[in-house]
């Protein structure tokens, strides 16, 4: 669509320079991430299909109000989801249910993950850019400094 548009601004986002295709890949990755998360929570009983609960049909407005109250009361140094939750929620095909089942993680896999994570953290402490604990993925926090300045410029 952009290939016939030769203005400088449009040239920057033509598919052949990769921006649009990369954005599409990234967008699809995040959508898949949300879907996988929902599927797992559904399978483990944290969420149930919304149409299966009468309660869910009554909830949307009150759920958002509750969320906002909790977020406002969250500790100022909340560092994970157990301490804070988003200010808003978006509708989905799932409702929530107070039960979760988890399974034990394989020891070997856990060791590998922890080693990779520690390596990434160590690299982060040393300011080494683009150190990544997970194959084929990128952690923006590990190279935030210089790139932040460049983005802000």
């Amino acid at each position: 669509m952009y290939t016939h548009d030769n203005t400088p601004e449009r040239q920057e986002i033509r598919p052949e320079n990769g921006a649009e295709s990369i954005a599409r890949i990234r967008k699809a990755q995040v959508e898949a991430g949300v879907m996988k998360l929902g599927d797992v929570l559904f399978r483990t009983g944290v969420l149930i299909p919304k149409q299966a609960t009468a309660e869910a049909q009554l909830r949307p407005e009150t759920a958002q109000a509750d969320t906002q109250v909790v977020a406002e009361q969250a500790p100022t140094q909340a560092t994970n989801m157990s301490q804070a939750r988003p200010l808003q929620t978006v509708e989905s095909g799932y409702s929530q249910q107070a039960d979760v089942q988890t399974t034990q993680i394989d020891d070997e896999r856990q060791s590998r993950i922890n080693a990779a994570l520690q390596a990434a953290e160590a690299a982060h402490q040393g300011g080494v850019p683009d150190a990544e604990a997970k194959e084929g993925s990128v952690n923006p926090q590990l190279q935030q400094g210089a790139n932040d300045r460049r983005l802000a410029a």
Binding site: G18, K36, N80, L87
Partner: protein, 122 residues
């Protein structure tokens, strides 16, 4: 926004430029994600982002009551049978019901906001 992200890409070849652009997209997503949970205290920084299809990351920096700089990174790993989290290199632990719900709410909102604010050109 997209123009600014593109201008920052300086790789030597197409592969490098693509990789850098990919990282830039995630960096900007992380900033958007950091706004989902309300205001960040002065001197602090918060980021929340999807690292890949199975990993979500929360990063928080703050100044404690003694004036010391603190940081904590929480990594949520989505496994077939549940959600695990690891903080600052410690062992993984299971995520409870409430925290899992918060994560899911955050992920949905994150997806919505990046599509509105970042990927609205596609």
């Amino acid at each position: 926004m997209i123009k600014r992200l593109l201008r920052s890409v300086v790789g030597n070849n197409q592969e490098e430029r693509d990789a850098e652009l990919y990282r830039n997209f995630i960096r900007h997503e992380a900033r958007i994600g950091g706004t989902l949970f309300g205001p960040v205290p002065k001197g602090g920084r918060r980021e929340f982002f999807c690292l890949d299809e199975r990993t979500w990351v929360w990063h928080e920096e703050w100044i404690d009551a003694n004036g010391h700089y603190k940081t904590k990174t929480t990594r949520y790993d989505v496994r077939p049978n549940g959600i695990l989290k690891a903080q600052d290199g410690q062992l993984y632990q299971h995520v409870g019901v409430e925290e899992a719900r918060h994560l899911y709410d955050a992920a949905k909102l994150y997806n919505k906001k990046i599509n509105t604010e970042l990927y609205n050109f596609i």
